[in-house]
C-alpha cells in the first residue's frame, strides 16, 4: 500500500528566506497527523507545495502515490485542502459554491454528497445564502465543505480552528474524526496544542523549514515531557536538599519538581515526610504537548 503522503528532500526559497530546507516526511494512509511549528516555520509552504500552489526548488512530493507535478491531475483528485485564510467567492451561495467546486473536479451530479456535507457541517439553514452574508465561523465550515466535495482520501487542514468558537470546534472535530475513522488520512496544522495532542496519532514539528521532531504523540510526550509535582510548602518550611535535584521551577513560593514517572511521587512525598515539611497544597501535572513544543523549539537543532 502506498503512503498517503510522501515528501522527499523538498526545499523552497523565497528570496532570502529558506522556507523549506530539505523536508522528508511520510504519512501513512489512515493516519491523523499533526504538523506543528511556530509562525513562519514552513507549514503552509509545505502544504502549498503538496497542493501544487508552490513549486519546490528541489525534491519530490506525492499524494497517494501520485506525483504532485508530473501527475498533478491524479494527485489533486486525492487531496482536499482547507486553506488557512478565510476566503470565499462573494458571487455565489453556499450550495452554488459547492456545486461549482464539484464541477472543477469533474463531478457531474454531486447533490446527494453535497447535502450530506451540508448537514454534517450544520450548514443546512444557510445553504442558499450568499457567502457574503455568512459569519466567519460559517465561512470556515464552507471551506471545509469545499475541500470535501470530491471525497479526497487525504485531507489537509491548515489551522482550521483559528478564531473559531468552541461549539464549532467540537462539531468540526467530531466530523473530521469520523472521516478519519472511515479511513481518510488527515493532516492538521494548528496552534492549539491541546487539539493536536488529543487528535493526532503522530506529530512532526517544523522549525525554520526543517523537521526537528517526528514521532508518535505518546512518544513525544514521554521523551520531552514528564509528570510534574507542584508543591506549596507551609510557611517556614524549606525544600529538603534531597529533592533539589528534581527542581525544575520555582515561582511564587511554589516548587515544581520534575518526575520521570508517576511512581516517583511516592519517594518524593516520603522525603518530605522525613524532613518534617508540611504542605499547603500539592498538584500533579500531566505531560503536555505545549511543554514538548517549547523544549523542541528551544533546543539547538
Amino acid at each position: 500500500m502506498s503512503s498517503a503522503i510522501r515528501i522527499e528532500g523538498v526545499t523552497k526559497r523565497f528570496g532570502s528566506v529558506q522556507a523549506l530546507d530539505g523536508v522528508d516526511l511520510e504519512v501513512a494512509q489512515g493516519e491523523f497527523f499533526g504538523l506543528l511549528g511556530p509562525n513562519g516555520a514552513g507549514k503552509t509552504t509545505l502544504i502549498s507545495a503538496l497542493a501544487g500552489l508552490v513549486r519546490p526548488d528541489a525534491g519530490r512530493l506525492a499524494v497517494m502515490g501520485c506525483d504532485v507535478l508530473s501527475d498533478y491531475r491524479a494527485a489533486r483528485r486525492q487531496l482536499g485542502v482547507v486553506p488557512q485564510e478565510l476566503v470565499f467567492d462573494p458571487f455565489f451561495t453556499v450550495r452554488e459554491a459547492l456545486r461549482i467546486q464539484s464541477g472543477y473536479f469533474g463531478i457531474r451530479d454531486n447533490a446527494a454528497w453535497i447535502d450530506e456535507i451540508i448537514e454534517n457541517l450544520d450548514l443546512g439553514a444557510k445553504a442558499d445564502t450568499n457567502m457574503r452574508q455568512l459569519s466567519g465561523g460559517m465561512k470556515r465550515r464552507v471551506l471545509v465543505a469545499q475541500a470535501l466535495v470530491h471525497r479526497p482520501p487525504v485531507i489537509v487542514l491548515d489551522e482550521p480552528t483559528a478564531g473559531v468558537d468552541v461549539e464549532l470546534r467540537q462539531g468540526l472535530w467530531n466530523f473530521i474524526r469520523r472521516l478519519n475513522r472511515d479511513g481518510q488520512t488527515i493532516v492538521l496544522t494548528t496552534h492549539y496544542l491541546e487539539e493536536a495532542e488529543s487528535l493526532c496519532g503522530r506529530i512532526a514539528m517544523l522549525k525554520q523549514g526543517r523537521i526537528v521532531a517526528l514521532d508518535t504523540t505518546a512518544n513525544l510526550l514521554r521523551r520531552f515531557s514528564g509528570h510534574t509535582l507542584r508543591l506549596r510548602l507551609a510557611p517556614g518550611a524549606a525544600l529538603p536538599d534531597a529533592l533539589r535535584a528534581r527542581l525544575s521551577g520555582d515561582a511564587g513560593g511554589e516548587h515544581v519538581l520534575a518526575l520521570e514517572r508517576c511512581e516517583d511521587i511516592e519517594p518524593v512525598l516520603a522525603s518530605l515526610r522525613e524532613a518534617g515539611c508540611r504542605l499547603d497544597d500539592v498538584e500533579v501535572g500531566k505531560p503536555d504537548l505545549e511543554e514538548v513544543f517549547v523544549r523542541v523549539m528551544n533546543s539547538r537543532q
Binding site: 523565497f14 502549498s48 497542493a51 501544487g52 500552489l53 508552490v54 513549486r55 498533478y72 491531475r73 491524479a74 489533486r76 483528485r77 487531496l79 485542502v81 486553506p83 485564510e85 476566503v87 470565499f88 467567492d89 462573494p90 458571487f91 455565489f92 459554491a97 461549482i100 467546486q101 464539484s102 464541477g103 472543477y104 473536479f105 469533474g106 463531478i107 457531474r108 469545499q146 470530491h150
Partner: protein, 251 residues
C-alpha cells in the same frame, strides 16, 4: 460537469449575476456616444460615399463595447479572485492551464458578444447597417473578443492591485480602442497618424468588423484578418506560457 465547462459556466454566471453593471451599463454608455456624436456630426461628416456618419459609427461602437467588456471580464474576475484569495478554488482542482485559459477567454468572448449584441439591438432602429458580409462580422467579433479576453488574463495575472489593473485599462486599452477608428475613418487623419494607426491592432478589428456591414473599409478585410489572427496566436501563446510557468499564480 468537466472542470473546464464548470469554470466557463462559473465565469459566465459571475458576470450575469451582476448584469446591470456588466451588460446594461456599457450598452447605455455606447448609446450616449451614439446620441452625442451623431447630434454633432451627422450631415457634416461623410466617411464613405454610401454610408451616413451614424451608420458608420454604430459598428465601431459595437466593437469597442465588445472589446472593452471582453477585457474587463477576464481581468476583473482574475484580479478579484487574486485579491480576495478565492483563486485558490480554481488552483486546487485538476484543471489544466489550457483549460483555464480557454474558459476565461470564452467567458470574455461571451460577455463581449452579449454587450455587443445589446448595443446593436438598441441602435438598430436609428441606422441602416447594410449587413453585407455577416461572416466577417462574426469572425472579427470572435477574434477581437478572444484577443481582449487573453489580454485581460495577462493583465489580471500581472496586476497585484486594482490600481495597477486600472492603469492597464486606462493607459493602454482605452487609448488603443478610442484611437482605432471607432469614431472616424483613419483616411481622415494626416498621413503620419494614418501610419501610426496601422500599428494599432484594434484598428484592424474595427475596420474588418465594419467591412462586414458595409462592404467597404480602410484596408482589405483579409489584411485585417491576417493581423488580428496573428495577434491572437501570439497573445494566446504568451498567455499560455505565463499560465504554464504559473507566473504570479503558483509561486
Amino acid at each position: 460537469m468537466d472542470g473546464f465547462l464548470t469554470l466557463l459556466y462559473k465565469e459566465i454566471l459571475r458576470f450575469w449575476k451582476v448584469s446591470f453593471q456588466t451588460v446594461a451599463a456599457p450598452i447605455l454608455t455606447a448609446l450616449l456616444f451614439l446620441l452625442i456624436f451623431t447630434h454633432v456630426l451627422e450631415g457634416r461628416v461623410r466617411v464613405y460615399e454610401s454610408v451616413t456618419y451614424s451608420s458608420f459609427l454604430v459598428p465601431g461602437l459595437v466593437m469597442m463595447s465588445l472589446l472593452q467588456n471582453a477585457f474587463a471580464n477576464s481581468s476583473s474576475s482574475l484580479i478579484q479572485s487574486k485579491v480576495t484569495g478565492n483563486i485558490i478554488f480554481m488552483l486546487l482542482p485538476p484543471i489544466s492551464y489550457v483549460q483555464f485559459f480557454a474558459a476565461f477567454v470564452l467567458a470574455a468572448i461571451a460577455r463581449g458578444i452579449v454587450v455587443g449584441l445589446g448595443v446593436l439591438l438598441v441602435t438598430l432602429w436609428f441606422v441602416d447597417l447594410g449587413w453585407q458580409a455577416p461572416l466577417w462580422i462574426l469572425a472579427f467579433a470572435l477574434l477581437g473578443g478572444a484577443i481582449m479576453g487573453a489580454l485581460g488574463v495577462i493583465a489580471g495575472i500581472w496586476a497585484d492591485k486594482f490600481d495597477q489593473l486600472a492603469a492597464f485599462q486606462n493607459f493602454i486599452i482605452m487609448p488603443l480602442t478610442f484611437l482605432s477608428g471607432v469614431f472616424y475613418s483613419i483616411h481622415s487623419l494626416p498621413p503620419f497618424w494614418q501610419r501610426v494607426s496601422h500599428f494599432n491592432p484594434i484598428f484592424y478589428m474595427i475596420d474588418g468588423f465594419r467591412h462586414g456591414f458595409f462592404g467597404v473599409s480602410d484596408v482589405s478585410p483579409w489584411t485585417s484578418l491576417g493581423v488580428v489572427s496573428g495577434c491572437f496566436v501570439a497573445l494566446s501563446l504568451f498567455t499560455l506560457w505565463l499560465l504554464r510557468i504559473g507566473y504570479k499564480l503558483r509561486a
